[in-house]
Symmetry: C2
Subunit: 215 residues, 2 copies
């Protein structure tokens, strides 16, 4: 779609300026920022619910992005973590929204800030939010073809979480297939097969998160 790309170029350029401002602002405060992206229902919020209580050495906060509802922010607050909900009629968060949301968390002063992006495997990949780390989550129930079909997001990720591995046997997909499919598209990413529901594999993921620093 040449037409749309051309029209969006100034939007993306403006976004990159806001992202650079965010990055400097985060660095000055030593906030390490992780941008969590996935299609709808891959399990980002449940992953955060299980991860946050295990990050005792870090002071955490979350920015939640959704088109509608503040269900996700409520779920994060229920595990005792500060959360700011962004509701926006858009298919992705942008750097300006995140910059504004971050200001509401100054009193919390997190040293680890998660941004849970809007559920979409396509558009969020194009929008730098000023984060230090990018993580893509996908679920075993989505099938092993997803990394190849939506390569941009996987290519740019520092880590890929393969969630819901407890469902793999009921989805006719093996863990090996899932791992190979990720490695083919994200050779440099740390890969974490896990189940937020059963807790399997969570430990390695939590360790990786706990070790993130501003960069």
């Amino acid at each position: 779609m040449t037409q749309k790309v051309a029209l969006n170029a100034p939007v993306l350029r403006k976004n990159d300026e806001f992202a650079a401002e965010n990055r400097a602002w985060f660095a000055a405060r030593r906030w390490t920022v992780i941008n969590l992206m996935s299609g709808p229902g891959a399990g980002k919020t449940t992953l955060l619910e299980k991860t946050l209580p295990r990050l005792a050495t870090r002071r955490c906060a979350v920015i939640e992005g959704d088109m509608q509802t503040d269900l996700d922010a409520s779920r994060i607050r229920a595990v005792g973590i500060a959360a700011h909900q962004i509701n926006v009629n858009s298919c992705h968060l942008d750097a300006r929204m995140v910059g504004e949301a971050a200001r509401t968390l100054i009193a919390v002063d997190p040293d680890l800030l998660f941004i849970e992006n809007i559920g979409n495997l396509v558009c969020p990949a194009a929008y730098d939010l000023g984060e230090a780390w990018r993580v893509t989550v996908f679920s075993a129930a989505e099938g092993s073809d997803k990394p190849r079909k939506y390569p941009k997001m996987f290519l740019q990720s520092d880590a890929v979480v393969i969630n819901k591995i407890d469902l793999a046997p009921y989805c006719d997909v093996s863990l090996e297939e899932l791992l190979e499919s990720v490695r083919a598209v994200s050779p440099r990413a740390a890969v974490f097969p896990l189940s937020s529901r059963t807790g399997e594999g969570l430990e390695a993921w939590v360790e990786w998160v706990a070790a993130r620093e501003v960069r």
Copy 2:
């Protein structure tokens, strides 16, 4: 995102013109067109693989939309149905792409044409393709909050398929919750809970599809 909406307004207007042309073109040929939308991995292609062989009274064809790969078109052809693959660096199909793809199917002259949109619960909802019927698919593994969180696509749908209901027991979600969540957002849609994998519930869906006409 006022800025993006403003920039996209001409794109959407132009798309509506192409969609109106498509609709007239389809109607003149008596092609009944169904636009199938979902997030990534909800199971649109598998649903088509199971549905197409059961539509013996109709002459079918499929337009497949993906960012990358022609995996889906190959799967459709493997069940003996003509399929045209669109690969596009975009988060949705638009009416112009569909109009061009439809021309490649003139020799097939389908009386039932499925368009499998790009896996995304947000952007495809804004793009009229000239279809007669809109169907949203989501998977029990995505959780019952999806209709409320992505209401636009569900609101506009003539039918909603709740796929992978065989996974519900492993996802701590009941069929009642899933049905209620759809009915709350899509009161006018026909709702089909089913499992493409086990075949449960397929019959009612196939009957609905088989009865679709140009309108």
